[in-house]
């Protein structure tokens, strides 16, 4: 080992931070040097992550926290980097994808306004995400978590002047949304989750007395026992903790910010969707799973199962919900956005399933993380391609795209590869990871979840083919004007597409390795033992695995065909027209509208929270503040001046009355003497 692994972990996120500093410091030096300096530092970050990778096989954790805050009562909080298989995998994924996106950006933002800002926030974004995955305690992780949020705010709202060309949404009758609004929305929705997560962290801390992940793992029996004595505490903890990931990873019901987060420059979308931000939630849930698994199956606190139930249900619902919306979306990036949510739904579903039986922990973890890896790769590739496409066509609407397959051959090929990976066509990486989730949901006997996931496969195939067809296969006349993207943009997504194939080629082995590592780490090293046959578990499906390994892939292939075929007919071969079909059927029209209106979730949330706030915000002022104001700042002075005027009347100016006051006084004094003194 050349460098101490702890140092590697620190440097891993410090290098991009230095990159951010470069973005500011080198403004005056000149654009190219600045850009390459920033990219170089991102590369160094990636290098550090890569150097950590060999440690993964040891399946151990490295953690040497340093003192950070002293707390009242003699306690203190230390921070450090936690290096264990989970964080190494995530750090590598994040660093690698970020590097690809940053290289791509060099060309992409050449002519954009606000480049300093762009580079600065991109670097910080990467820094915070790396910090998030490498942090060894909840607060440090939360810091990264929040910084990711604020960076996304800045980057989504990159075009803050809201020029019309950067508007999102529409066309009529759908409303247009401005980038600054989208940024604010992303920030606010995720903040809502963050608040919940912070509540969860703090709540957890009050019982556990530690924030370090490792200590939480090690002392789980103690603090879980304390937690379980308060009825409802575990449920509350689960819900509070899950609030964060649900918002951050854009899961139902806090998912509506993501489609609009497309307002930023495309590399930003790529970063948000593939590498950072939305993956944070998945990572965090993965982090927590051992603890809750322990609580559910080993310590036997049934309340802890809430965590898994909520996770799995949210994942499946989101996967289905957003899959449907992706089928009708009209903007290219929005399709991809819905697809991201849908895929993240899968991951979350996989993670949720980890706790459904007493032995599925590592299976679930593996499924979720594997899908995270493969999704990261192909989704980054897709977004980068989309960036090129939008740049070339100058429109965000797929209906206005019509690209030449020939002159943009490489882009076309790479995008198809990535798309097929997304669809789950074997042997691309997406197939293997999705299969794991599907089979896990089947094995655990969660047939509703399984059905939802399976249907979503068909949806995925449909919208994937649809957007490819709309972009590249609109007509056969070749449009010669389109130019292939410059190599500096092409290479990153080319590599990603190749990687997608490569991972797919070794898919089963890859998945197994991950599972082994997790097994070795969580079970053998940390001691979250998995006892088979613990009370309440669903009967192990071990004996049925042999037919299933064949049946399930077949089933999902059938679903892909079901989804892809109509799309192929509509959009690629143009054998029939989807518009005609929809116009011909009232029900289909209604469904299309329903889906395009995003199941009315967005509009109802908007109506209640946003419009409601704007419309009724003055009510507070009018009905509470103003009366109070009136009472205190006018009422009391008026009362006093009224009293004062009343007292003023005592001063009549009539001498006889003045003398009568004296007499009155004497009389009162006499009475008081008589009553108080004489007896």
């Amino acid at each position: 080992m050349l460098i101490d692994i702890h140092l590697l972990a620190w440097l891993c996120w410090i290098f991009p931070l230095l990159g951010a500093a470069m973005a500011i410091l080198l403004i005056r030096i000149g654009r190219p040097i600045r850009d390459y300096a920033v990219v170089f530092f991102t590369f160094l970050g990636f290098l550090m992550a890569l150097l950590m990778l060999p440690e993964i096989v040891r399946a151990e954790s490295f953690n040497s926290p340093a003192f950070w805050i002293s707390l009242p009562g003699g306690g203190s909080i230390s921070i450090g980097m936690l290096i264990d298989p989970l964080s190494i995998i995530l750090a590598n994924i994040v660093a690698f994808l970020s590097l690809a996106i940053m290289i791509y950006s060099v060309k992409y933002v050449e002519h954009e306004p606000g480049q300093d800002r762009y580079w600065f926030f991109m670097s910080i974004f990467i820094t915070s995400m790396l910090l998030l995955v490498l942090a060894d305690n909840l607060i440090l992780m939360f810091i990264g978590w929040k910084m990711v949020g604020i960076c996304s705010y800045a980057l989504i709202g990159h075009y803050y002047s809201d020029e019309e060309e950067h508007w999102l949404g529409g066309p009529d009758p759908f409303p247009f949304r401005t980038p600054s609004r989208a940024g604010l929305k992303a920030l606010l929705v995720t903040t809502f989750g963050d608040v919940s997560l912070l509540g969860g962290i703090v709540f957890l801390y009050t019982y556990s007395g530690t924030l370090s992940f490792l200590e939480l793992y090690q002392t789980a029996d103690v603090w879980l026992a304390a937690l379980a004595t308060d009825p409802g505490a575990l449920t509350l903890l689960s819900v509070l903790l899950l609030g964060g990931p649900i918002a951050k990873s854009a899961q139902f019901p806090l998912h509506e910010w993501l489609p609009e987060a497309m307002a930023g420059p495309t590399p930003v979308s790529a970063l948000i969707h593939a590498a950072t931000m939305v993956k944070a939630g998945v990572y965090f849930i993965a982090r927590l799973i051992p603890v809750f698994f322990y609580a559910t199956w080993i310590a036997n606190y049934p309340e802890a199962f809430t965590f898994f139930a909520v996770t799995a249900a949210v994942g499946a619902i989101t996967a289905f919900l957003t899959g449907t919306q992706a089928m009708v979306a009209v903007e290219l990036k929005k399709v991809l956005a819905y697809s991201t949510m849908s895929q993240i739904g899968y991951m979350i579903l996989g993670l949720g399933l980890a706790g459904f039986t007493s032995h599925s922990m590592t299976l679930g973890l593996t499924a979720g993380i594997f899908h995270l890896i493969s999704h990261g790769i192909f989704k980054a590739a897709l977004f980068l391609c989309a960036g090129v496409i939008i740049h070339t066509t100058g429109s965000i609407y797929m209906s206005e795209m019509d690209l030449s397959r020939r002159s943009m051959r490489y882009t076309w090929i790479f995008m198809w590869v990535a798309t097929m990976s997304l669809m789950g066509i074997p042997p691309l990486s997406g197939f293997w990871s999705k299969e794991e989730i599907l089979s896990l949901s089947f094995e655990t006997g969660q047939f509703i979840l399984f059905a939802l996931a399976l249907v979503t496969v068909a949806f995925t195939a449909f919208y994937s083919v649809r957007f490819m067809g709309k972009v590249f296969h609109k007509n056969d006349e070749e449009n010669q004007e389109d130019k292939e993207a410059s190599p500096i943009m092409l290479v990153p997504y080319g590599i990603l597409a190749v990687l997608s194939v490569a991972v797919g080629a070794i898919g089963p082995w890859f998945g197994e390795q991950i599972e082994h590592i997790f097994e070795a780490y969580f079970v053998d090293f940390l001691g979250f033992e998995v006892h088979s046959g613990t009370a309440g578990s669903i009967a192990p499906a071990a004996q049925s695995t042999v037919p299933l390994t064949l049946l399930l892939p077949l089933l999902s292939l059938v679903m892909i065909v079901i989804g892809a075929l109509p799309a192929y007919r509509f959009y690629v071969s143009h054998a029939s027209s989807s518009e005609a079909l929809v116009e011909g059927s009232g029900i289909l029209q209604r469904i299309q509208m329903f889906l395009r209106k995003r199941w009315y979730i967005n509009s109802s949330i908007n109506r209640v929270f946003v419009d409601g706030t704007i419309r009724y915000r003055h009510l507070v002022q009018k009905y509470i503040e103003d009366p109070l104001d009136c009472l205190f700042n006018e009422g009391i002075p008026r009362l006093f001046s009224g009293l004062s005027k009343g007292l003023r009347r005592l001063q009549t100016g009539l001498l006889s009355i003045n003398i009568q006051y004296i007499l009155l006084f004497i009389l009162l004094a006499l009475i008081s003497i008589v009553f108080l003194v004489v007896p």
């Binding site: 004062s644 006051y661 004296i662 006499l670």
Partner: protein, 484 residues
């Protein structure tokens, strides 16, 4: 021969009209003012020396032979009060040099002023009740005439006659009370009264005497509901006289009351302290509340004096060393604060010609010296710490809180807050943007702002370094309490 300051005061009171006559001959209109001021200064100097002597434990020589033998008794209480009275007199007198320049018969004015000071000095140094009464009447008489001094206007005259009638009724009541005390003991000497009545079980007549004496002094001290003459008299009098009346004359009523209460009527203390507590709250509340809506600057200040009398009464209600210290200290502080305030009002009226608050907007820019001093006085009156008013109010509060009358203390503080409402109006009006009446104002002449600033600096000094006077006030209080 009385005591030295008194002698000097009488001498100058008598000679000032002569000088005034002379001044008319040689056409030096300010001469009588300067002469009178010198006289007061001289007597202040002697009074100060007496104070130092008494503080040093030396009993100053009171006349041992002659007509007034033993009717004066100089203790720390008396000499301290004397210094306050003469000291404020100096300021008023210097101020008057310019202020009363155009008045006819200004030498008479100075004679009356000196006479009033003499009367007050007599009241606080008297050793028996009747001597006290004689000087009391002297003080009253001169003040009636001073209030009505500007007899070419109807208001001073009206205020004067009302003041005279009410105050004389009070004096008569006082005399009646004194006669009852005399009837009970056969002596009017404070020492004699203290030995005769101090430790006896109180009979009904003592209560009646208390009632009459209290009413008599109360009219002068403007205790509600005996206060009704005050707003008229104080607002109608010439401003230096208002300063004197508010600053020390009404307080002299309290000082005299202290003398009697803590000697002759000490056995009734539990009774009268309760009555005082109630009256203190009523007085301060009414004074401050009524001041809220006044538009006449001097009338507002006059009502505020009633409020401050309420604060002082609280200390008497406590009746402890701390309480008395607080009262004495507040009398000093109030003399400084209200003296400054009324003199500032006088300077403003001198230039502006109006007493209406609304006409004074924008004044601060035209008369900054006056405005700043006025603001200092006002903030001291509100009771902001760092200025002298705070220390005495604090002492008063502590004293009442110590004897389980915390509600009186709370009333003091709430009243201070209420009083900020009208005091601040003055400051606010002064620093507002300019209005027409104040456009062509000039700064007040030196002889006006100089005494004002002396007082203002004392306000700050005693605020920052209260022990300068705190000590004396406490010893004065001990002197009173050691009389029985």
């Amino acid at each position: 021969m009385l005591t030295l300051p008194l002698d000097l005061l009488f001498l100058f009171a008598i000679t000032t009209p002569l000088i005034g006559w002379l001044a008319q001959k040689v056409d030096l209109p300010r001469l009588s003012g300067v002469y009178a001021t010198l006289g007061i200064l001289l007597s202040a100097f002697t009074a100060f020396q007496l104070l130092l002597q008494t503080l040093g434990g030396v009993v100053p020589p009171t006349p041992t032979s002659g007509l007034f033998n033993a009717y004066f008794d100089l203790d720390i209480f008396g000499s301290f009060a004397m210094v306050i009275q003469i000291g404020l007199g100096i300021a008023a007198s210097i101020f008057s040099i310019q202020y009363m320049r155009s008045e006819s018969g200004s030498s008479l004015y100075y004679a009356l002023l000196i006479g009033m000071i003499g009367g007050m000095v007599g009241v606080v140094t008297a050793a028996d009740l009747f001597t006290l009464f004689v000087f009391w009447e002297m003080m009253c008489l001169t003040s009636y005439l001073l209030v009505a001094f500007k007899n070419e206007e109807p208001e001073p005259v009206e205020a004067g006659i009302k003041y005279l009638l009410m105050s004389s009724a009070g004096s008569a009541t006082l005399l009646f009370g004194i006669s009852l005390l005399y009837g009970m003991t056969g002596t009017l000497n404070f020492g004699g009264l203290a030995t005769a009545l101090g430790h006896a079980t109180p009979g009904p007549w003592l209560y009646i005497a208390l009632l009459f004496i209290f009413t008599g002094f109360g009219v002068k001290a403007a205790i509600v509901p005996l206060h009704t003459w005050l707003p008229d008299a104080h607002s109608a009098a010439p401003s230096p006289i208002s300063a004197m009346l508010s600053g020390i004359v009404i307080e002299t009523g309290l000082l005299a009351m202290v003398r009697v209460l803590f000697t002759a009527l000490i056995s009734l203390q539990t009774y009268w302290s309760m009555v005082f507590a109630v009256l203190a709250v009523i007085t301060m509340t009414l004074g401050n509340m009524t001041a809220l809506v006044q538009d006449d600057l001097k009338r507002m200040l006059a009502y505020s004096s009633i409020g401050h009398i309420g604060y002082m009464l609280a200390g008497l209600a406590a009746g402890t060393v701390v309480g008395l210290t607080g009262t004495i200290l507040h009398i000093l502080n109030h003399a400084l604060m209200k003296g400054t305030a009324f003199l500032c009002a006088g300077a403003i009226i001198y230039r502006l010609g109006s007493r209406n608050l609304a006409d004074m907007s924008g004044l601060a820019r035209r008369m900054p010296k006056i405005a700043v001093a006025f603001s200092i006085a006002i903030f001291a009156l509100i009771g902001l710490p760092g200025l002298n008013g705070f220390v005495s109010k604090l002492t008063l509060f502590v004293s009442v809180a110590d004897v389980n009358l915390a509600w009186v203390g709370i009333a003091i503080i709430l009243n201070s807050a209420i009083s900020a409402g009208y005091y601040l109006r003055i400051v606010r009006v002064m620093i507002e943007t300019e209005s027409e009446p104040s456009e062509n104002l000039r700064e007040a002449p030196v002889s006006m702002w100089f005494p004002i600033w002396i007082l203002a600096i004392l306000i700050i000094t005693f605020g920052i370094w209260p022990d300068l006077v705190f000590n004396i006030a406490e010893r004065a209080a001990l002197a009173i309490l050691s009389m029985t």
